[in-house]
């Protein structure tokens, strides 16, 4: 006699009668198998499930990955169905279809086998994770190709698969040639012209950033979603919300991740959380497998395909997303507990053209060391002042790496993330504006782990700066078209925000060296390259620019009430030098390996990260 898994689990005391009923309702509504909901929605831990199954006399196959498979058999099942049922056929043997199943009582799947292959199944019981791994590996090729090439096929102009277009290369080499010829023919005049261009550029950039910060700081007075509005949100009316969690070798963070996810104030059955694990990432895979408490996420294994980037993993995960809205969190993220509800409320208020809402990012380990303090200063200024400033002025917002909440359909329509771009988020923000969509900012914060190790920081930052360069090059392939798409404000904003950032960091150490030589060695000959008014502008930029940027950092942390960090803003010029190192590294990588994803190691912080319960 066949056993009923729900009954078994209830009898063993792992699931209450109430839970069983909730799972069954959820299963009927979503089409997911009972065991999938039980294992991925926090009802039972895998270890307890295994224990129950084994006590009932079943044997779990420990190495299903070694099993032989027949491609013809596999071709008859779709990955999404295998995912939903946590089961898959492997081959035909002795007139039976050998199938891997996480739950032997899944009648729907057994009927599917009988109907499709016209044979009886021979069930091999396996861990749901192993089945997921194998199904994604063997059935996921179509989805992987789509994740990698969809944008490139559909909208090649928006794909970073080509780093430099031919026109861009011609322009770059013509500029280099002109500068070289100019320097050879008239070193002094050419240098003066370069100085004038750089100084003017810096001056405009400083004024623009100050203006943005002032505009953005007014956001402090405005609450996108108020507490009263939040109280009006009815749980039963909330839509399904997908959360993508792309991870790579984050085994240390899995437990923390579960705690953070469990704190989210959103009905459990309406959460569709997907942990995206790379095929070769056994560390994370085993960490999930060894969890001894219930997980509230579904694992999706991303099959190997170059480029091995986060956007590719997200695109892959997108195929299985069931939500109306979707967001991305990193493994170590601690979002405000009410963030998802706030987003739903804000989407309800905003016009349809708003397809994305960006939350502020900040750090929970800000007081750990110098680097984390500086990082916190930077993020406070970026997310609390700059992005709201861009938002107010209707300039494309380069999205932050996580906590950007999308409308799923529009995201897919947009072509999702560019897997060849290493700051896919910034690129997506600009692309959204170019396609006539809008992005809003919300008064909710996600706390991340600030990079506390200098080399790790440089790796991460070099990727970001390289990504900015990629994004700039992609969207500036046809500047006139971009101008028409996003308007003059957007165009200038894009140039001074996305384009200027890497250039500023590349030029900064050169100018600093000039200045130090001028002051320390009293190189009066430098004066010949800086006519009076150019020198005046340069000194103004140096003094006023530095002071204002430091000050804006100060007011940003003041706003966050991180009073202890205020004086650290003075150290910004040193911090910017680290940016410059990263910028040069990023530039080098842009040329030699543009799609290489510099992995940031997380979980290095020793600071405890309490959940950020919003009262």
């Amino acid at each position: 006699m066949r056993i009923s898994i729900p009954e078994l689990l209830t009898n063993d005391g792992f699931i209450t009668a109430g839970d069983r009923e909730a799972i069954e309702q959820h299963s009927a509504a979503s089409g997911l198998s009972y065991i999938k909901i039980a294992l991925t929605s926090g009802y039972i831990s895998r270890k307890n499930y295994d224990r129950s199954i084994q006590n009932a006399g079943y044997q779990i196959h420990e190495h299903p990955r070694d099993e032989a498979y027949d491609q013809d058999v596999l071709d008859k099942i779709d990955l999404t169905f295998a995912h939903d049922r946590l089961a898959m056929p492997l081959r035909i043997e002795n007139g039976k279809v050998v199938v891997l199943m996480a739950s032997p009582d899944d009648d729907l799947f057994i009927d599917f086998i009988r109907f499709t292959y016209d044979m009886e199944p021979e069930i091999i019981l396996a861990s749901d994770l192993d089945i997921t791994w194998l199904s994604n590996k063997l059935l996921g090729e179509k989805y992987t190709k789509s994740a990698v090439f969809e944008l490139m096929k559909r909208d090649p102009d928006s794909s970073a698969v080509v780093t430099f277009s031919t026109t861009q290369l011609i322009v770059i080499f013509v500029i280099i040639a002109l500068v070289t010829i100019g320097l050879v023919l008239s070193f002094k005049n050419t240098s003066i012209i370069i100085n004038v261009i750089i100084s003017s550029f810096f001056l405009v950039a400083i004024i623009f950033k100050l203006f943005l910060a002032l505009v953005g700081s007014r956001f402090e007075l405005h609450q996108a979603v108020t507490k009263e509005e939040l109280k009006l949100v009815v749980d039963d009316e909330l839509p399904i919300y997908t959360i993508l969690l792309p991870v790579y070798k984050e085994d240390k963070l899995i437990k923390k991740l579960i705690w953070n996810l469990q704190s989210i104030d959103y009905p459990r059955h309406k959460l569709d959380i997907k942990l995206l694990i790379e095929e070769d990432d056994d560390k994370t895979f085993n960490a999930v497998k060894n969890l001894d408490f219930p997980a509230i996420f579904e694992v999706i294994v991303v099959p190997f395909h170059m480029p091995k980037t986060k956007p590719k993993a997200c695109n892959y995960g997108l195929h299985f997303a069931r939500g109306k809205y979707l967001t991305i969190y990193d493994a170590e993220d601690i979002p405000d507990t009410d963030q998802l509800k706030k987003v739903v409320s804000l989407f309800g208020k905003l016009p349809d053209e708003y397809i994305c809402i960006q939350s502020a990012l900040n750090y929970f380990n800000r007081n750990e060391n110098f680097l984390t303090r500086m990082f916190t200063l930077e993020y406070s200024y970026w997310f609390d002042y700059m992005l709201p400033g861009l938002d107010t002025l209707d300039i494309p917002i380069p999205l932050g790496g996580t906590s950007n909440h999308f409308k799923l359909d529009e995201l897919v329509d947009l072509g999702a993330w560019d897997p060849f771009n290493v700051t896919e988020d910034a690129d997506l923000g600009v692309r959204a504006y170019a396609k006539g969509y809008k992005i809003a900012i919300i008064n909710s914060t996600t706390y991340e782990e600030a990079n506390n190790e200098p080399f790790n920081w440089i790796r991460q930052r070099s990727r970001w700066i390289k990504g900015y360069m990629q994004t700039y090059l992609v969207h500036m392939r046809d500047p006139v078209a971009l101008w028409k798409e996003i308007g003059w404000k957007g165009f200038l904003g894009f140039n001074f925000f996305i384009g200027a950032t890497p250039i500023t960091f590349l030029v900064y150490p050169l100018l600093l060296t000039f200045f130090i030589c001028y002051v320390v060695f009293d190189l009066s000959t430098i004066r010949t390259l800086f006519p009076d008014w150019v020198l005046f502008m340069s000194i103004f930029n140096l003094m006023v620019g530095n002071i204002l940027m430091i000050y804006i950092n100060m007011i940003a942390v003041f706003k966050r009430r991180y009073y202890e960090l205020i004086l650290f803003a003075i150290a910004n010029p040193i911090y910017w030098l680290m940016h410059s190192i990263s910028a040069y590294k990023g530039l080098y990588q842009l040329i030699v390996k543009p799609f290489y994803w510099e992995k940031t190691n997380h979980g290095l912080s020793k600071v405890n990260s309490p959940t950020n319960v919003v009262k």
């Binding site: 700081s217 007075l221 009076d532 003094m543 000050y551 100060m554 009073y563 205020i566 004086l567």
Partner: protein, 533 residues
Amino acid sequence: MKLTSGIYLSILTLILVIYYLVCGIYLNNLGYYNHESLFYIEKAKIVFEGTGNRLKVMGLTAPLIPFYATFIFTGFSATLAPVLASAVGTAVLFYVIASTITKRLNDDGYIWLLLIIFLFHPGIIYTAASGKSIYLILIFFFLFFLNLFKFYRSNTTFHVSIASLCLVILIFCDYKFIWLTLFFLPLVLSITIHSLNLGEQESIFRLFLSFNSPSLRRKLVNKTFALYIILFSLPLAAVLCYKLLNLTHASDLNYFAESPYATWNVLIDKLSFDQISTNSKYQIPETSILLSARVVLFAPMILIAIYLFRESTYQVLTILIPFAFIEFLHIKYDKVFLAYQYYMIFLILAYLCVIFKAHTVKNHKSFKLLLAVTILFQLYFGWDYLKNSLVPEERNFVKVLTENKDDTVQQDNVDVANYLNSLPGDAHVLADDAIAYGIIAFTTDIKPVIMPYQGNFLSALESPDKYVDYVVVATAKNIVSGYTQLNNKYIISIRHTIPNVNFRKVYETNDWTVYRVITNATEGGFDSRLIRK
């Protein structure tokens, strides 16, 4: 007509611009100038037309912001630029205050009252038509306090940082305002205590609670310190950087404040001191204790303002800070009379406080009547203070404005400049703009004039025969002749050290003598253009 709408405010502002321009140009035609505007005119000429170390003039001329503000108008007319700037700037001040009224009170009455002040108050007319930088001081003083009061209400970083930015600009409009920060030091603690989330309302008990709880104490200290940084780091850093620039480009940290080449105040302060030391009659009104009383008499509306803010100790203290500030100025700069602008700040502050708190008044009709009476009172004392000012320039303004007679104060400078203008284009002139900026301001072409900002000035001073054809020298009657090397002693010393060189008077006024540099070999007869006044 609803004055509180944006379009009408703009029209009113435009009308005021025209009104002030008429006043300013009228005075200008009568020959009214003051030291400050002449100084800006001369420095602007150097920046746009000069040849030499213009960077130093461009960057270290103080006060910096008013100097740059005149730049914008130099294209219209070099000599009229400061007046144009002050006329437009004062109208902007009206717009700023009026738009604040519009945002806070939907009542035309307050705009009419403001309009009365801006049309008839002599201080405002002086601000607008004199070409001085008072308009900028008033604008940023107003914005500084406005944002501070807004911060008190909303407790937002935005307003406190804007207040700080305004303070920086204020300091670069008049360096003396740096001392304002001194009196905010104790006040910030009071502000922080108020902003802590405590059940107790009385300030003293809040302080008691904060000091006796370790966590509150830590929070209080952190927040107070942070507020100091947010409010004062920007002005202090800006001043520090500016001082460093002075050090690197002029080898003197305080060049901008102490060199007569960098600022007009130095010379005027010396004159003021001379006036005091030679005056046998002691100036009673400038006695310390009476100064605040004089201010209250000048702007009695400030009493109404204090009354309106009576429920909040630290806000009353905020209003009292400018009183402490001027008393401090009087003690620190005891050899200088308090200029009219330091009275004017109270006029603006009082009106700001009134419009900020007017919504708490129950009977607006009576309140506006009270304000109208106070304003009439202020108009009278405004005229009285300006007419009897201890600063000659201010008295002179009223005199020229009311008597409709040509102002002859700058006539010497104009005459000498006209003479220099009549010289052949290739004739080089040596002049020291520490005191001769008044002449340079009226000179059409400054290229042939060698002045201290140029590298060859010292060489020309040592060997005038090799560099210049003419030298402008201060006569013994010139009250500031002691502040330049180019005075009578210079002629004697050069004659003594270089026997081959001689000087021939070619033009002379009461304050100036223009000498033609001649070598003994080429010594000629009497210059026909010599005019003795």
